[in-house]
């Protein structure tokens, strides 16, 4: 066993040390594999960043109540009567004055202009009451102040303000023939709420002619498990044809469909490119075996087994592919990690997110690179192992 290992190490070392003879061909394979990995990782980093932004925004102890079957706030309608019934529901935490910790909200979309492309996109404008910010994690006014109730004032999420023009502090924007003043910028721990614009609920209801209408009710639960009691209460009352779910579940569901779509685009594209780089790897490794025919035959004549020759060739291929994988991961990291983009979220409004290369994502890219190396080296390695010694020795 030790001898077989030493043989494999020796053959691998000989193969790798002779790489400079085949420098350009080997580099071409490394670059081809690197490009494949880069494409895959870019898509996966996009999906990962999107998913983290949305899914990371949800809390387990916040209930989100929507019209039954609506799946997204934009499709939902909740009446004032239903809001009152929900406020009386079980499992909802109370404030010091005994009132329930709930926030009935209106959600509409308005036009915005993207700074990078100068194209129009739908931006989410949310009307909420004084309890609204407290029912979200980590909301901090980073510049300016909170809007005054009853005024045409808005506060803007930090990510949205960075990505779309016209939302700097003190600027005025027009929505629905009404001018609004940006009086504050807020952060939300890089979550999805940073992609929203917030205004006073009654003002928004009035100016968008939606008086008495809501689209979502948020409620703080006494504990995460209280969601079941609230859901049973809603299911048991025929006046409440509503969906009740935790905020964490709601955002996970919102994130998964878009993230799945991104991944479903990324993987086929990367696999199609992988076939191209596989052809390159095969070509490189067949050339490597041909260039080393005399060395391989000499080693075999000395007594080295075919298996060590096979493994040595396969390892060479996989090492080249690994270099490609690392190159692709490094290039993706340098070019795209933290890169800010925005796309349509589950609510049909823009969600601003950062590309995020996690170790899991990098691992997937490296696995793809190794798969290319394995398949690209397999047949050349078999040829090396089966090479007739005499023919290779005497050419």
């Amino acid at each position: 066993m030790r001898s077989v290992l030493l043989q494999m190490l020796a053959v691998t070392a000989i193969n790798l040390r002779s790489l400079p003879k085949r420098l350009w061909l080997s580099l071409a394979t490394v670059v081809a594999v690197g490009l494949v990995v880069m494409v895959l990782l870019t898509f996966l980093a996009m999906a990962n960043g999107f998913q983290r932004t949305i899914a990371g925004s949800g809390a387990e102890d916040i209930a989100v109540v929507l019209r039954g079957g609506s799946r997204a706030e934009l499709n939902s309608v909740v009446s004032l009567d239903q809001v009152r019934l929900i406020e009386d529901g079980p499992g909802i935490a109370k404030r010091a004055d005994g009132k329930p910790q709930t926030s009935a909200e209106l959600y509409v979309t308005v036009d915005g202009i993207k700074r990078s492309t100068r194209t129009k996109a739908n931006l989410p404008l949310r009307g909420l009451g004084p309890q609204g910010p407290a029912l979200r994690q980590g909301i901090v006014i980073t510049a300016g102040r909170m809007f005054n109730p009853g005024s045409n004032e808005i506060i803007v999420g930090r990510a949205l303000g960075g990505e779309f023009e016209g939302f700097d502090l003190g600027q005025t924007v027009a929505f629905n023939n009404t001018r609004w003043t940006v009086v504050g910028i807020f952060s939300a721990e890089a979550g999805v709420f940073e992609s929203e614009i917030w205004a006073d609920l009654p003002v928004l209801q009035s100016l968008f002619k939606r008086t008495g209408a809501f689209q979502v009710v948020r409620a703080r639960l006494t504990m995460p498990a209280s969601i079941e009691a609230l859901r049973s209460y809603s299911d048991g009352d025929p006046r409440l044809k509503l969906d009740v779910m935790s905020e964490a579940d709601y955002f996970a569901q919102q994130a998964s469909s878009t993230a799945d779509l991104i991944q479903k685009l990324g993987w086929p594209l990367a696999i199609a490119m992988a076939f191209g780089s596989l052809a390159g790897a095969l070509n490189t490794m067949y050339s490597s075996v041909a260039a080393r025919a005399s060395e391989i035959a000499t080693l075999r004549a000395i007594g080295f087994g075919g298996f060590s020759t096979f493994v040595g060739t396969l390892v060479e291929s996989m090492i080249l592919a690994s270099f490609g994988g690392v190159l692709g991961a490094a290039a993706t990291y340098l070019m795209f990690d933290g890169f800010t983009a925005s796309t349509v979220g589950g609510n049909f409004g823009q969600v601003v997110f950062h590309f995020e290369l996690s170790l899991r994502v990098i691992g997937q890219g490296l696995l793809l690179a190794l798969a290319v190396g394995l398949l690209g080296g397999l047949f050349p390695a078999m040829r090396a192992a089966r090479m007739p010694i005499v023919a290779a020795l005497y050419g």
């Binding site: 001898s3 030493l6 043989q7 040390r17 005399s294 004549a301 007594g303 075919g306």
Partner: protein, 233 residues
């Protein structure tokens, strides 16, 4: 206990053919040969007479169509490819015309290659490598790469590689074919020393009558059969 008269190589009724297109070329048909231990035989003959083929058959890197090949009591014509690889590692040393050294390895690393097939540890391998390179007079070239050495020095490294695992049989294919006369004489002297002082059985294929003079006897291959000629010691 073995003696010099014990047979090292025994070939009986050997048949070997090659197929070239639709034509079958017979190299040997009923060849017989016996070489005792510690002999030094030069195999001569015209091009295409089968000298190198014979060497390849004796080294187990080519196989015969019929007949038997027995080396030191082992019927190598019955061994599988894997068994032949094991057998070569411990019983045969090859010396090629163009040295066949690994250009990216130092002299010591080249010589160490056959020892990687043994159970020897790193220290024992180093000692063996140094001893083999000392025998061929290259103790001061351990860390030199082939491209930093002359042809004669490279062939010495190849001989050190062939003897480092202490095989009984050395098979040399035109070992001086790429060298000038003086260097060739040095190489042949080393082979003579290995035969005389270390008891190695050597079969050397050569075109060069002067090289054959270093052997104990010369066998001339002609039309698939041997004609033996005694040489002066």
């Amino acid at each position: 206990m073995s003696s010099a008269s014990d047979p090292m190589i025994g070939i009986v009724d050997l048949r070997k053919t090659f197929t070239k297109g639709k034509e079958t070329i017979t190299i040997f048909d009923g060849l017989n040969l016996a070489i005792p231990k510690a002999d030094f035989v030069a195999v001569m003959g015209p091009s295409g007479s089968g000298k190198t083929t014979l060497l390849n058959l004796l080294g187990g890197i080519d196989c015969c169509d019929a007949g038997t090949i027995e080396i030191a009591g082992i019927r190598i014509d019955r061994l599988s490819e894997g068994q032949l690889a094991h057998w070569r590692a411990s019983h045969v040393g090859f010396v090629f015309q163009f040295y066949n050294l690994m250009q990216m390895l130092t002299a010591a690393q080249n010589v160490e290659l056959p020892l990687l097939l043994t159970r020897l540890g790193g220290k024992a391998r180093r000692e063996r490598v140094e001893a083999a390179l000392a025998v061929v007079g290259l103790s001061d070239r351990l860390k030199h790469y082939p491209k930093e050495m002359s042809g004669g020095q490279q062939q010495r490294v190849a001989i050190a590689r062939a003897i480092v695992s202490d095989p009984e049989l050395l098979l040399c294919d035109e070992p001086t074919g790429d060298l000038d006369r003086r260097t060739a004489d040095e190489i042949l002297s080393i082979l003579q020393l290995l035969n005389r002082d270390f008891g190695k059985t050597i079969v050397m294929v050569t075109h060069d009558p002067a090289a054959a003079q270093y052997a104990r006897r010369a066998l001339h291959l002609d039309k698939g059969h041997f004609i033996e000629k005694e040489l002066a010691a």
